[in-house]
């Protein structure tokens, strides 16, 4: 996770492998009751976060989504503090106030992932503009966001102001239980093109294909060419959210899942890395992840008396729910 500039096959493999293990263990922590909110695992989509973030500098900005652990890790957040945040601990990147769904980490220019699906597009445009069009802003969202009008309002502003925003749509086929074909009339890329935004549909399972597409869009942004939209075809092996561990939902077939597993981003990239190198990376990653988990679980939970902390910048204290209470 260290040097984001490193984009050789082994590094890409390492990042995918790291996200994969991180997600698998986070699901364990959900089952163990350590992560009370549950999580939206990105297992199966790791190549997108990995390939896209590999094209970014430290100064570039990422806006994540509710399925965002991979984005954070690939952008360079401290994985221990990400897991701690998911577990609602004070050592978390947001001190337990953001959680798994709405993380931010300004230290690595990861801005708030809003819970309002689709609204990151306008926020991303505002950030890109405010940073003087210097830095690239990547806004991640899913296929569900495409049907939210505010997403398209953001596209219009980014295009009008020719802002360096890369809109990354992770089309994993479903918005919760809703298949994308039944939600999106016309096409996703057509929505970008309607605003004069260069738009393309790209394989999201092969990280080197992702990297190439992202590089082109990022270059366009850096050179003043304005926003791009990339729709990556991908898939999530797990359910929408860990509640599906309990409530199995029949909106998709086992066959479909199996079919997608045949194009597993981890396997695809593994094939490009010598077995011994892989073995070393796997061992390192597994060890680091266990350290991440241990750190998160051992961290302190917030003190309820601090529940109203961080509401206002000037320390204004909201009146308590009972007259007289602090």
């Amino acid at each position: 996770m260290t040097d984001l500039a490193m984009t050789d096959s082994a590094d890409l493999y390492r990042t995918i492998r790291f996200i994969r293990r991180f997600e698998e263990r986070s699901v364990d922590l959900v089952t163990a009751g350590e992560i009370a909110s549950g999580v939206h695992p990105c297992v199966g989509q790791e190549a997108i976060a990995t390939g896209v973030c590999a094209t970014l500098t430290e100064d570039d900005v990422v806006l994540s989504s509710h399925r965002g652990h991979g984005h954070l890790l690939a952008k360079g957040c401290d994985p221990r503090r990400v897991m701690a945040e998911m577990a609602g601990r004070v050592t978390g990147i947001d001190k337990g106030r953001g959680g798994s769904f709405h993380p931010s980490d300004l230290g690595v220019n990861v801005y708030n992932a809003t819970g309002t699906v689709g609204h990151g597009s306008g926020i991303a445009a505002g950030i890109a503009w405010a940073r003087g069009r210097r830095d690239v802003v990547v806004s991640f969202f899913g296929d569900g966001a495409v049907t939210q009008g505010a997403l398209l309002e953001g596209f219009n502003l980014a295009a009008l102001l020719k802002l360096p925003v890369v809109y990354v749509c992770e089309n994993n086929g479903y918005a919760t239980t809703l298949p994308v074909e039944t939600a999106v009339a016309g096409s996703i890329v057509g929505r970008g093109e309607a605003f004069g935004i260069p738009s393309s549909t790209v394989d999201g399972q092969d990280v080197e294909v992702v990297l190439a597409a992202a590089t082109e869009a990022v270059e366009r942004a850096r050179s003043g060419g304005g926003p791009s939209l990339i729709e990556f075809s991908t898939y999530r092996y797990y359910g929408h959210h860990t509640f599906e561990l309990k409530a199995r939902m029949k909106y998709r077939t086992e066959e479909e899942i199996a079919r997608w597993r045949e194009r597993d981003p981890l396997d695809i990239q593994a094939a490009r890395v010598p077995a011994d190198v892989r073995a070393r990376i796997d061992a390192e990653v597994d060890a680091e992840i266990e350290d991440v988990v241990a750190f998160a679980v051992a961290s302190a939970r917030p003190d309820p008396v601090d529940a109203l902390e961080y509401m206002y910048t000037d320390g204004l204290r909201a009146r308590a729910g009972v007259a007289g209470d602090a």
Binding site: R97, A145, Q148, L178, M311
Partner: protein, 322 residues
């Protein structure tokens, strides 16, 4: 008698209304697989023309429901998360709820907005745990917040039958509550009519939604000390002011137990109206969420912002002294 849960009562009321009236239909996200379980079994039972699967496009389908209602249907729009009602706040309060007046009475907009998971969602964080009901009352939108399976059934049925927009809030914390019911007794309950859950002479506790059950427990706990009347208005707007006045005529003491934010919330409205127009022998009290409450992403922080039973106990004791 069978035990009916609050959630099942919603499912039953909606299903009964759809059986009774072919113009009733339901729309929202994840309808087909009934994510919230409110519409469990409906796709098979009523088919896709009466169970409309909608994309992630809340403003669009809220406006769609407005149009369908003006053209003679009775849409029930489900919102999975309370903040989605903030996202469509303009479409409900400034459009659907005003079209009747704006048309000089020609149009009616019989839409029910159903939020079967209002309030705190453990650790889901600041954007998923609001209780926006007070603001719909402020804008004059009919709004209900039932506490029991029977009331949930009756008020959902009434909301659907009502010819105006009605917002239905079912707190997440109450969905599992069960009650012995004789299905034959389930019936519509009029808007604006409260319910005395427990009669008492010393102090009136006004509670709504899941807090009614906490209030009843506290009343029981304090039985030796004070005779507590627990009044549940059931509707946020219109509000049963006559019912409240009658209770205060008897007790003259008021404690309001309300899960909404403090400033300009329902709790404040009840205290203000009582102070202005009703009999009070001691200063009233309210227990609410803090001003503009925002929960964190850990249960430890979240619970600190919810109204609690100990707060209610203390408030009752204070008004008894006052």
């Amino acid at each position: 008698m069978p035990k009916l849960s609050y959630l099942k009562a919603l499912n039953r009321a909606l299903g009964d209304e759809m059986d009774r009236d072919p113009s009733v239909f339901v729309l929202g996200e994840d309808m087909k697989f009934a994510l919230t379980n409110v519409t469990a079994g409906f796709m098979d039972r009523f088919g896709p023309e009466r169970v409309l699967e909608m994309p992630l496009t809340e403003q669009g389908f809220t406006n769609f429901a407005t149009g369908a209602a003006m053209a003679g249907k009775r849409p029930v729009v489900e919102f999975q998360i309370p903040f989605l009602l903030l996202l469509v706040f303009e479409q409900i309060t400034n459009q659907a709820n005003k079209f009747r007046l704006m048309s000089g009475g020609q149009l009616s907009v019989p839409v029910t907005y159903l939020c079967p998971a209002a309030g705190w969602r453990p650790a889901w964080g600041a954007q998923h745990s609001d209780q926006p009901y007070s603001m719909f009352a402020h804008m004059g939108v009919k709004t209900v917040l039932p506490a029991t399976p029977t009331d949930a059934y009756g008020l959902l049925a009434t909301a659907i039958q009502d010819d105006d927009p009605v917002v239905f809030f079912g707190p997440l914390a109450v969905l599992g509550v069960r009650e012995d019911v004789d299905y034959a007794d389930l019936a519509p309950i009029p808007l604006g009519v409260g319910r005395v859950h427990r009669s008492g002479d010393d102090v009136t506790v006004v509670a709504m939604g899941h807090l009614v059950h906490d209030a009843l427990a506290v009343a029981e706990e304090l039985a030796g000390e004070a005779s507590v009347e627990v009044f549940d208005p059931r509707s946020v707007y219109p509000f049963d002011w006559a019912g409240l006045a009658a209770s205060l005529e008897k007790t003259g003491r008021l404690v309001v137990f309300d899960d909404s934010n403090r400033s300009c919330g329902l709790g404040g409205e009840i205290v203000a109206t009582a102070a202005e127009e009703m009999r009070l022998v001691a200063p009233p009290k309210r227990i609410t969420r803090p001003d503009g409450a925002m929960v964190g992403a850990s249960p430890d922080l979240d619970v600190a912002l919810q109204p609690t039973r100990p707060q209610l106990v203390e408030a009752i004791r204070k008004v008894m002294k006052g």
